[in-house]
Protein backbone atom coordinates (compact mmCIF):
# COMPACT_ATOMS: atom_id res chain seq x y z
CA UNK A 1 0.00 0.00 0.00
CA UNK A 2 2.99 2.30 -0.30
CA UNK A 3 2.45 3.71 -3.81
CA UNK A 4 -0.50 4.85 -5.89
CA UNK A 5 -0.21 1.78 -8.10
CA UNK A 6 -0.28 -0.77 -5.29
CA UNK A 7 -3.26 0.96 -3.70
CA UNK A 8 -5.06 1.09 -7.04
CA UNK A 9 -4.33 -2.56 -7.61
CA UNK A 10 -5.64 -3.51 -4.17
CA UNK A 11 -8.81 -1.44 -4.64
CA UNK A 12 -9.61 -2.95 -8.04
CA UNK A 13 -8.89 -6.48 -6.84
CA UNK A 14 -11.02 -6.12 -3.73
CA UNK A 15 -13.89 -4.56 -5.71
CA UNK A 16 -13.87 -7.50 -8.09
CA UNK A 17 -13.84 -9.97 -5.19
CA UNK A 18 -16.84 -8.20 -3.65
CA UNK A 19 -18.59 -8.25 -7.02
CA UNK A 20 -18.03 -12.00 -7.25
CA UNK A 21 -19.50 -12.44 -3.75
CA UNK A 22 -22.54 -10.33 -4.64
CA UNK A 23 -23.09 -12.33 -7.82
CA UNK A 24 -22.92 -15.50 -5.79
CA UNK A 25 -25.50 -14.08 -3.35
CA UNK A 26 -27.77 -13.30 -6.30
CA UNK A 27 -27.36 -16.88 -7.54
CA UNK A 28 -28.06 -18.37 -4.10
CA UNK A 29 -31.16 -16.21 -3.67
CA UNK A 30 -32.79 -17.71 -6.76
CA UNK A 31 -31.41 -21.22 -7.08
CA UNK A 32 -34.14 -22.89 -4.99
CA UNK A 33 -37.10 -21.10 -6.56
CA UNK A 34 -39.80 -23.06 -8.28
CA UNK A 35 -40.19 -21.74 -11.81
CA UNK A 36 -43.11 -23.92 -12.88
CA UNK A 37 -46.38 -22.31 -13.91
CA UNK A 38 -49.44 -23.34 -15.78
CA UNK A 39 -50.02 -23.08 -19.51
CA UNK A 40 -53.18 -23.65 -21.49
CA UNK A 41 -52.54 -25.18 -24.88
CA UNK A 42 -55.17 -26.17 -27.37
CA UNK A 43 -55.02 -27.36 -30.94
CA UNK A 44 -57.30 -25.78 -33.52
CA UNK A 45 -56.68 -27.54 -36.81
CA UNK A 46 -54.81 -30.81 -37.14
CA UNK A 47 -53.82 -32.43 -40.44
CA UNK A 48 -51.37 -35.11 -41.41
CA UNK A 49 -49.88 -35.54 -44.87
CA UNK A 50 -47.67 -38.14 -46.42
CA UNK A 51 -45.04 -36.34 -48.45
CA UNK A 52 -41.45 -37.00 -49.56
CA UNK A 53 -38.94 -35.79 -46.97
CA UNK A 54 -36.31 -34.27 -49.23
CA UNK A 55 -34.37 -33.09 -46.23
CA UNK A 56 -33.59 -36.63 -45.22
CA UNK A 57 -34.23 -39.91 -47.02
CA UNK A 58 -36.52 -38.69 -49.85
CA UNK A 59 -38.96 -41.38 -48.81
CA UNK A 60 -42.51 -40.49 -47.95
CA UNK A 61 -42.80 -39.60 -44.30
CA UNK A 62 -45.61 -38.27 -42.20
CA UNK A 63 -45.77 -34.51 -41.86
CA UNK A 64 -48.14 -33.05 -39.31
CA UNK A 65 -49.74 -29.66 -39.68
CA UNK A 66 -51.38 -27.96 -36.77
CA UNK A 67 -52.37 -24.59 -35.47
CA UNK A 68 -52.63 -24.02 -31.78
CA UNK A 69 -53.82 -21.65 -29.10
CA UNK A 70 -51.51 -20.81 -26.24
CA UNK A 71 -52.36 -18.94 -23.09
CA UNK A 72 -49.99 -18.51 -20.21
CA UNK A 73 -48.71 -15.93 -17.78
CA UNK A 74 -44.97 -16.04 -17.24
CA UNK A 75 -44.55 -12.80 -15.27
CA UNK A 76 -43.98 -14.76 -12.06
CA UNK A 77 -40.96 -16.47 -13.60
CA UNK A 78 -38.96 -13.27 -13.89
CA UNK A 79 -36.77 -12.06 -11.06
CA UNK A 80 -33.43 -10.30 -10.70
CA UNK A 81 -31.54 -13.34 -11.90
CA UNK A 82 -33.54 -13.90 -15.09
CA UNK A 83 -32.44 -12.02 -18.17
CA UNK A 84 -34.63 -13.75 -20.71
CA UNK A 85 -36.76 -16.78 -21.29
CA UNK A 86 -36.56 -19.09 -24.26
CA UNK A 87 -39.95 -20.75 -24.44
CA UNK A 88 -40.63 -23.63 -26.77
CA UNK A 89 -43.52 -25.90 -27.59
CA UNK A 90 -42.78 -29.59 -27.85
CA UNK A 91 -44.86 -32.42 -29.24
CA UNK A 92 -44.23 -35.77 -27.61
CA UNK A 93 -45.56 -39.06 -28.86
CA UNK A 94 -44.82 -42.73 -29.18
CA UNK A 95 -44.54 -44.74 -32.37
CA UNK A 96 -43.96 -48.43 -32.97
CA UNK A 97 -40.37 -47.70 -34.00
CA UNK A 98 -39.54 -45.22 -31.23
CA UNK A 99 -40.55 -45.25 -27.62
CA UNK A 100 -40.23 -41.48 -27.32
CA UNK A 101 -40.38 -38.83 -30.04
CA UNK A 102 -39.97 -35.17 -29.24
CA UNK A 103 -40.40 -32.48 -31.87
CA UNK A 104 -40.02 -28.78 -31.18
CA UNK A 105 -42.73 -27.00 -33.12
CA UNK A 106 -42.51 -23.40 -32.05
CA UNK A 107 -40.37 -21.15 -29.89
CA UNK A 108 -40.12 -17.59 -28.70
CA UNK A 109 -37.71 -15.40 -26.76
CA UNK A 110 -39.11 -13.15 -24.04
CA UNK A 111 -36.71 -10.54 -22.75
CA UNK A 112 -37.12 -9.23 -19.26
CA UNK A 113 -39.44 -6.21 -19.29
CA UNK A 114 -41.33 -7.42 -22.33
CA UNK A 115 -44.90 -8.56 -22.08
CA UNK A 116 -44.86 -12.02 -20.54
CA UNK A 117 -48.63 -12.55 -20.62
CA UNK A 118 -49.07 -14.67 -23.71
CA UNK A 119 -52.42 -15.17 -25.39
CA UNK A 120 -52.00 -16.53 -28.89
CA UNK A 121 -54.86 -17.73 -31.04
CA UNK A 122 -54.59 -20.06 -34.01
CA UNK A 123 -50.80 -19.84 -34.39
CA UNK A 124 -48.98 -21.75 -37.08
CA UNK A 125 -46.00 -23.80 -36.01
CA UNK A 126 -42.57 -22.40 -36.78
CA UNK A 127 -40.90 -25.72 -37.56
CA UNK A 128 -41.99 -28.76 -39.53
CA UNK A 129 -43.59 -31.59 -37.64
CA UNK A 130 -41.82 -34.43 -39.41
CA UNK A 131 -41.99 -37.93 -38.15
CA UNK A 132 -39.08 -40.16 -39.10
CA UNK A 133 -41.48 -42.72 -40.55
CA UNK A 134 -45.22 -43.09 -40.70
CA UNK A 135 -46.06 -42.76 -37.06
CA UNK A 136 -48.31 -39.71 -37.10
CA UNK A 137 -51.38 -40.86 -38.97
CA UNK A 138 -54.02 -42.11 -36.56
CA UNK A 139 -51.74 -41.45 -33.60
CA UNK A 140 -54.16 -41.15 -30.71
CA UNK A 141 -51.84 -39.81 -28.07
CA UNK A 142 -49.72 -36.81 -29.01
CA UNK A 143 -49.11 -34.41 -26.17
CA UNK A 144 -48.13 -30.79 -26.54
CA UNK A 145 -46.38 -29.05 -23.71
CA UNK A 146 -44.61 -25.79 -23.16
CA UNK A 147 -41.11 -25.54 -21.67
CA UNK A 148 -38.74 -22.71 -21.02
CA UNK A 149 -35.06 -22.19 -20.59
CA UNK A 150 -34.12 -19.51 -18.10
CA UNK A 151 -31.11 -17.42 -19.06
CA UNK A 152 -29.80 -16.00 -15.77
CA UNK A 153 -27.26 -13.39 -14.78
CA UNK A 154 -25.36 -16.02 -12.87
CA UNK A 155 -25.93 -19.64 -12.08
CA UNK A 156 -27.70 -22.58 -13.59
CA UNK A 157 -29.57 -22.72 -16.88
CA UNK A 158 -32.72 -24.54 -15.79
CA UNK A 159 -35.10 -26.04 -18.29
CA UNK A 160 -38.61 -25.96 -16.86
CA UNK A 161 -41.69 -27.77 -18.07
CA UNK A 162 -45.09 -26.14 -17.64
CA UNK A 163 -47.68 -28.01 -15.64
CA UNK A 164 -50.42 -27.91 -18.26
CA UNK A 165 -50.28 -30.06 -21.37
CA UNK A 166 -52.64 -30.82 -24.20
CA UNK A 167 -53.27 -34.24 -25.69
CA UNK A 168 -54.64 -34.50 -29.20
CA UNK A 169 -54.87 -37.08 -31.95
CA UNK A 170 -54.06 -37.04 -35.62
CA UNK A 171 -56.77 -37.94 -38.15
CA UNK A 172 -56.84 -41.44 -39.49
CA UNK A 173 -56.70 -40.31 -43.13
CA UNK A 174 -53.97 -38.43 -44.92
CA UNK A 175 -55.01 -35.07 -46.29
CA UNK A 176 -54.76 -34.73 -50.04
CA UNK A 177 -51.86 -33.08 -51.79
CA UNK A 178 -50.01 -30.07 -50.41
Amino acid sequence: MHTVLTRGNATVAYSLSVLACLTFCCFVSTVFLDYRTDANINTVRVLVKNVPDYGASREKHDLGFLTFDLETNLTSVFNWNVKQLFIYLTAEYKTPSNQLNQVVLWDKIILRGENAVLDFKNVNTKYYFWDDGNGLRDNKNVSLYLSWNIIPNAGLLPSVKSTGKHVFKFPSEYSSSI
Binding site: M1, H2, V4, R7, G8, A10, T11, V12, Y14, S15, V18, L19, C21, L22, T23, C25, C26, S29, N79, W80, N81, N153
Partner: protein, 99 residues
Amino acid sequence: MFDIQTHMDFVGQAKAERWSRLIITFFGVVGLIYGAIVQQFSQTVYVLGVGFLLSSLITIPPWPFYRNNPLKWQKPVNVEQKPQTAAESGDEGKTKKKK
Protein backbone atom coordinates in the same frame (compact mmCIF):
# COMPACT_ATOMS: atom_id res chain seq x y z
CA MET B 1 10.89 24.39 -6.37
CA PHE B 2 7.74 22.31 -5.84
CA ASP B 3 8.12 20.21 -2.75
CA ILE B 4 5.21 17.78 -3.36
CA GLN B 5 5.11 14.89 -0.95
CA THR B 6 3.83 11.66 -2.54
CA HIS B 7 4.36 9.15 0.24
CA MET B 8 2.13 7.80 3.01
CA ASP B 9 3.56 6.89 6.35
CA PHE B 10 2.97 3.42 7.79
CA VAL B 11 -0.03 4.43 9.91
CA GLY B 12 -1.49 6.18 6.87
CA GLN B 13 -1.07 3.09 4.70
CA ALA B 14 -2.90 0.94 7.24
CA LYS B 15 -5.63 3.56 7.45
CA ALA B 16 -5.96 3.76 3.67
CA GLU B 17 -6.28 0.00 3.33
CA ARG B 18 -8.85 -0.26 6.12
CA TRP B 19 -10.94 2.56 4.69
CA SER B 20 -10.91 1.16 1.16
CA ARG B 21 -12.07 -2.24 2.47
CA LEU B 22 -14.78 -0.65 4.59
CA ILE B 23 -16.13 1.60 1.84
CA ILE B 24 -16.26 -1.10 -0.83
CA THR B 25 -17.81 -3.67 1.52
CA PHE B 26 -20.40 -1.18 2.74
CA PHE B 27 -21.43 -0.17 -0.77
CA GLY B 28 -21.52 -3.81 -1.80
CA VAL B 29 -23.89 -4.75 1.01
CA VAL B 30 -26.10 -1.71 0.43
CA GLY B 31 -26.13 -2.45 -3.30
CA LEU B 32 -27.12 -6.05 -2.69
CA ILE B 33 -30.04 -5.03 -0.47
CA TYR B 34 -31.15 -2.30 -2.87
CA GLY B 35 -30.84 -4.60 -5.88
CA ALA B 36 -32.85 -7.29 -4.10
CA ILE B 37 -35.58 -4.77 -3.30
CA VAL B 38 -35.90 -3.40 -6.83
CA GLN B 39 -35.07 -6.85 -8.31
CA GLN B 40 -32.39 -5.46 -10.60
CA PHE B 41 -28.91 -6.89 -10.24
CA SER B 42 -27.53 -4.11 -12.45
CA GLN B 43 -28.39 -1.64 -9.67
CA THR B 44 -26.25 -3.70 -7.29
CA VAL B 45 -23.33 -3.46 -9.69
CA TYR B 46 -23.81 0.30 -10.11
CA VAL B 47 -23.88 0.90 -6.35
CA LEU B 48 -20.72 -1.16 -5.99
CA GLY B 49 -19.19 0.94 -8.77
CA VAL B 50 -19.98 4.11 -6.83
CA GLY B 51 -18.26 2.58 -3.81
CA PHE B 52 -15.25 1.73 -5.94
CA LEU B 53 -14.98 5.32 -7.24
CA LEU B 54 -15.39 6.81 -3.77
CA SER B 55 -12.81 4.45 -2.30
CA SER B 56 -10.42 5.22 -5.16
CA LEU B 57 -10.82 8.94 -4.57
CA ILE B 58 -10.32 8.70 -0.82
CA THR B 59 -7.59 6.11 -0.47
CA ILE B 60 -5.53 6.02 -3.67
CA PRO B 61 -4.07 9.56 -3.85
CA PRO B 62 -1.53 10.26 -1.10
CA TRP B 63 -3.58 12.87 0.70
CA PRO B 64 -1.80 14.90 3.40
CA PHE B 65 -3.82 13.38 6.25
CA TYR B 66 -2.09 10.06 5.59
CA ARG B 67 1.18 11.73 6.66
CA ASN B 68 0.34 12.61 10.25
CA ASN B 69 2.65 10.05 11.87
CA PRO B 70 6.10 10.58 10.38
CA LEU B 71 8.88 8.20 11.34
CA LYS B 72 11.32 9.41 13.99
CA TRP B 73 14.71 8.96 12.41
CA GLN B 74 17.79 9.00 14.60
CA LYS B 75 20.17 11.84 14.23
CA PRO B 76 22.99 11.03 11.81
CA VAL B 77 26.15 10.01 13.66
CA ASN B 78 29.32 11.67 12.62
CA VAL B 79 31.38 8.59 11.74
CA GLU B 80 34.64 10.31 10.83
CA GLN B 81 35.13 11.84 14.26
CA LYS B 82 34.58 8.72 16.36
CA PRO B 83 35.44 5.62 14.33
CA GLN B 84 35.90 3.41 17.37
CA THR B 85 32.39 3.95 18.85
CA ALA B 86 30.65 3.32 15.53
CA ALA B 87 32.51 0.05 15.13
CA GLU B 88 31.56 -1.11 18.64
CA SER B 89 27.80 -0.87 18.30
CA GLY B 90 26.62 -2.67 15.16
CA ASP B 91 23.07 -1.28 15.33
CA GLU B 92 24.08 2.19 14.47
CA GLY B 93 25.84 1.16 11.33
CA LYS B 94 22.63 1.45 9.30
CA THR B 95 21.86 4.96 10.43
CA LYS B 96 24.88 6.55 8.94
CA LYS B 97 24.76 9.03 6.09
CA LYS B 98 21.07 9.41 5.33
CA LYS B 99 21.36 12.22 2.83
